[in-house]
């Protein structure tokens, strides 16, 4: 990895650490995951296309590293399928006019707890959405079609709203 690319890659360390931390749930594991991500990026630097989004490329490596080396060893709070079924259940409580007020009053710890209660897939797509990646870039990170990103994000956010309602009571 040449010097300029390495410098730019280092600039994304906070964003990678954030995703790693929310994926692993543990600081020490997040640190290892970030280091391994950069090691793989250095080894595979030839695979990066100049002019494309470096952060998205690093996110993709981090996610794949997490899946291949770590995910199978940890029990997720819930599998992604549970988040999917949340969509139907969400309809009823969405009619609650108090939701907007509740969302605005949530504190950081409540939001974090709700986020961590989601599946890893749902957490990932919600966090990537916050990183200002385009849907195309998110699809590249998640290695799925753009349409899947949209539906996955919608379901994840609906599931998150449901969790946040519980925390805001």
């Amino acid at each position: 990895m040449h010097e300029e690319l390495a410098r730019e890659a280092l600039g994304h360390v906070d964003a990678l650490y954030k995703l790693a931390r929310y994926l692993t749930g543990r600081e020490s594991d997040a640190e290892d995951l970030v280091q391994e991500t950069y090691a793989r990026a250095v080894a595979g630097a030839a695979g990066f296309t100049a002019g494309t989004n470096l952060k998205a490329w690093l996110f993709r490596i981090l996610r794949n590293t997490f899946i291949s080396m770590y995910r199978h060893r940890r029990a997720s709070p819930e599998v992604s399928g549970v988040d999917i079924t949340d969509a139907a259940a969400t309809e009823e409580w969405l009619r609650d006019d108090m939701e907007l007020d509740r969302l605005r009053k949530l504190v950081a710890e409540e939001i974090e707890a709700a986020l961590m209660s989601l599946s890893e897939d749902a957490r990932t797509v919600v966090l990537l959405d916050l990183e200002d990646l385009s849907e195309v870039e998110m699809a590249a990170v998640l290695e799925c079609p753009v349409g899947t990103v949209k539906s996955r994000l919608a379901r994840a956010r609906a599931a998150l709203r449901r969790r946040l309602r519980d925390y805001a009571k």
Binding site: V13, S28, M69, A108, L130
Partner: protein
């Protein structure tokens, strides 16, 4: 009473709530670890570099014609050659380790049982690799694969150390450019330790075989781990 239900307003409020997540930048130790990984490998001496020094040193030495001056130069050249020899094996070990980490296909023998992994190499190598550590709960054996170490076949035993991969290469030791200095006595063995690009490599010889242990885990952990392999 809040304002009427508004999907778009709620969506915005949800995004705003997410932006209130605690901001926790990567700790300084993580940044240092990443910087080590990103650091370029130190360049080896090029022919031009050697020619430059030859042009500078040779006339000086000739003019001085003193043994007292010649001796340090001999030592310097010896050390440079030693470093170059060691660097070849260190670079090879890291490259081989990365090829295993980066491989898209699974290990050729995937098992946490050393009694299954070691026999798998029978007939695939011209020597019988001695597995000095069969793994445990902290450092589980993941499996093994055939590898090439410079000009020869090697056995690669792959372990996990949390999220890190640890690779132990076992190979015939004859005729390799082993470092000729810088070895340290550690228990019953002599080991050569080096760090490059965030990786720690430990070389040693035992049982008539050569060993190279490689990982990007914390160097102190790798050194501790080497002692369990009999390499420190």
């Amino acid at each position: 009473m809040s304002e009427p239900h508004d999907e778009r307003a709620i969506d915005v409020a949800l995004t705003e709530a997410l932006h209130r997540l605690p901001h926790r930048p990567a700790p300084a130790r993580v940044v240092r670890r990443v910087e080590r990984v990103l650091a370029p490998a130190p360049p080896g001496p090029s022919p031009g570099w050697r020619w430059h020094w030859a042009r500078v040193l040779v006339p000086t030495l000739a003019a001085a014609a003193a043994v007292a001056l010649a001796t340090p130069v001999v030592v310097y050249q010896y050390n440079a050659a030693t470093r170059a020899a060691g660097a070849t094996m260190i670079t090879e070990a890291i490259g081989d380790h990365l090829r295993i980490v980066q491989a898209q296909r699974p290990l050729e023998i995937e098992s946490g049982d050393g009694h299954r992994v070691r026999p798998w190499f029978e007939g695939r190598l011209e020597f019988s690799p001695v597995l000095p550590f069969a793994g445990d709960n902290d450092v589980p054996l993941r499996g093994g694969a055939l590898a090439w170490f410079l000009d020869r076949k090697a056995a690669a035993f792959v372990y996990g150390l949390r999220l890190h991969t640890v690779t132990l290469f076992v190979f015939r030791p004859e005729g390799l450019p082993w470092p000729t200095a810088g070895w340290q006595r550690a228990g019953a063995s002599e080991v050569y330790r080096a760090g490059e690009r965030g990786y720690t490599v430990i070389l040693w010889r035992a049982h008539g075989l050569g060993y190279a242990l490689v990982s990007d885990a914390d160097p102190r952990e790798v050194v501790q781990l080497a002692s369990r392999f009999g390499g420190a």
